[in-house]
Assembly symmetry: C2
Homo-oligomer: 329 residues x 2
């Protein structure tokens, strides 16, 4: 295992320490290393709280800040945060208008966030993201997995919260954006969890995993290495097929790297995916390309199509100032 | 070789096509794929033109836009752009106030940019970056290599050009920022050039290369895998030692990923480097952490310390809107 680390047991806290030092203008650590929270809260705004296992950076801590989350709870690598972490975060950032929990659909995350929701004293609503069309159930998931589309939910709902939308409206908006968003990924290599010290799965030098999960969960099938165009075609066909009818729809096209894939390859995939969606009648009106929802050092990428309408597009465009996503500020 | 590509011969042009589609609000391609240029030029502003071999994305094309470059010329992977490319780019974006060429110190780049400068019809000045303290000469370099510090030069000089500074002033500022900037990198794995199809250098499962270049050039020495703290200490000591006296100086601390290293590890290194520089009396007042000057899919990182004074810090903070770096807009 080749990583910049001191000990596997302290990689998360040491990384969070560096993260908090680098972005002290935006955020602070809360409860030791239990959560990352905005430096300044705005009373009366609904609090947005997310989190999940570490290893997907910048998701979620990198999306704490103006226009996105108020707090994020990082679990150990690929491990759900505890109910205690979520409860403390909610108590810290809920200024009286309630809290919306944004949860990726993994059994541990859902269970622990729900336990926290039951114990919280203020008003709570939940949005569970499940944008991954690759498989219906998975290693740690009943139903579809929540993957890169979670970023889109956090951005759009975050902008609406900033604009003063109440808890019920944000819950409905989050569910709607999740419902309008589909993703699928492909791995060229496995990730390596620091505490395990070896690759999560074996994959041959001429193989790829179609539909891989962001923790290295199996996808639809193992196949021999395909061209970028063939990879993009399979993913775009799966996403468009799952939507049913995409003709004439405005969309954000988001190509996400898993951590070990450089920008040059992501842009090449973006070009291929864009041509393929446009050939299906999609109007690609917004783009995002980069490593935002990662799987440690995995080489691979996912493609996300989000059918954002006019109002949601305005929320996507609204100013955001976080470590991982920033514009207009 | 596992990459998202169709053919090695078309990876650059296909990637540029995707890049231009994703960032059509900021930039366009010029002369086919000869250069990337700002969509809108501002007459009377000095034109900033950079470039170099592809494979270091987002450098340089990702820094074209308001507050940074006017044009960037991408060569084939790890290959200098031709004089013809640079000449066409300069002719296209020089609106009459002259052009400043920002060149990383590699023999091919320096030669080709200088040939273009000699042929150009307008006023031309050059800044050659050479921030890498690892070695004095290298595979393709007489003198020190230009590496991640080039981003700092492009950002600071870009802001000054935007504010109306004339060509002579920009040249002096660029040289001063380069002179106040030192970097050193370390590789955990080799990169793989698409046309070669195999790793550029062999490195054992328990080895790292101290002082590696961004094309995989040899560094100071090969060593066994060290802890993150030990890696940071060696690099910070080399940088601080090269500066001589850093006590009491304001600085930007920039931890740069080489393409295959995830954010979690970069932030851990940032925390370690920050503590080490602060222990030497540096006042770290700005941070940048991410994969900005990459080496294809290499796992590794570099640390850059830039002793920016008050005026240069204001230029660093000035609004920028590019594909790779964005704030305030």
């Amino acid at each position: 295992m080749k990583k910049f680390m001191n000990e596997a047991g302290s990689i998360l806290t040491e990384s969070l320490d560096g993260f908090a030092m680098a972005h002290a203008d935006i955020l602070t650590l809360g409860g030791g290393h239990k959560f990352v929270r905005r430096r300044t809260l705005r009373p009366g705004k609904v609090a947005l709280v997310s989190g999940g296992g570490a290893g997907h950076e910048p998701l979620h801590a990198g999306f704490v800040g103006h226009g996105m989350l108020d707090a994020a709870c990082p679990g150990q690598v690929f491990t759900s945060p505890t109910p205690d972490q979520v409860l403390e975060a909610v108590a810290d950032v809920d200024t009286g208008a309630g809290a919306l929990l944004i949860i990726k659909n993994y059994e541990g995350d859902v269970m622990n966030f729900e336990m926290a929701a039951e114990m919280a004293s203020g008003a709570i609503a939940k949005v569970i993201t499940n944008d991954d069309v690759a498989v219906e159930n998975s290693t740690w998931t009943t139903g579809r997995r929540g993957v890169a589309g979670t970023l889109v939910v956090e951005k759009v709902v975050g902008a609406a919260a900033e604009a003063g939308m109440a808890l019920d409206g944000l819950k409905a908006l989050g569910d709607a954006v999740n419902g309008a968003t589909r993703s699928m990924g492909v791995a060229l290599t496995s990730c390596t969890v620091p505490a395990a010290g070896r690759p999560t799965f074996d994959i041959g030098a001429d193989e790829m995993e179609f539909g891989v999960g962001i923790h290295g969960e199996p996808g639809r099938r193992r196949d021999t290495l395909k061209s970028a165009d063939a990879v993009a075609e399979e993913i775009c066909a799966a996403i468009a097929g799952d939507f049913g009818d995409v003709r004439g729809r405005d969309a954000l096209l988001f190509v996400n790297g898993f951590g070990g894939t450089p920008a040059m390859e992501l842009y090449l995939i973006y070009g291929a995916a864009r041509r393929l969606f446009e050939a299906r009648g999609v109007k690609v009106v917004r783009a995002l390309v980069g490593s935002y929802v990662t799987s440690l050092d995995m080489a691979g990428c996912s493609i996300t199509l989000s059918l954002l309408d006019g109002a949601a597009l305005e929320l996507w465009d609204a100013p955001v100032h976080t470590a991982g996503l920033r514009w207009g500020l």
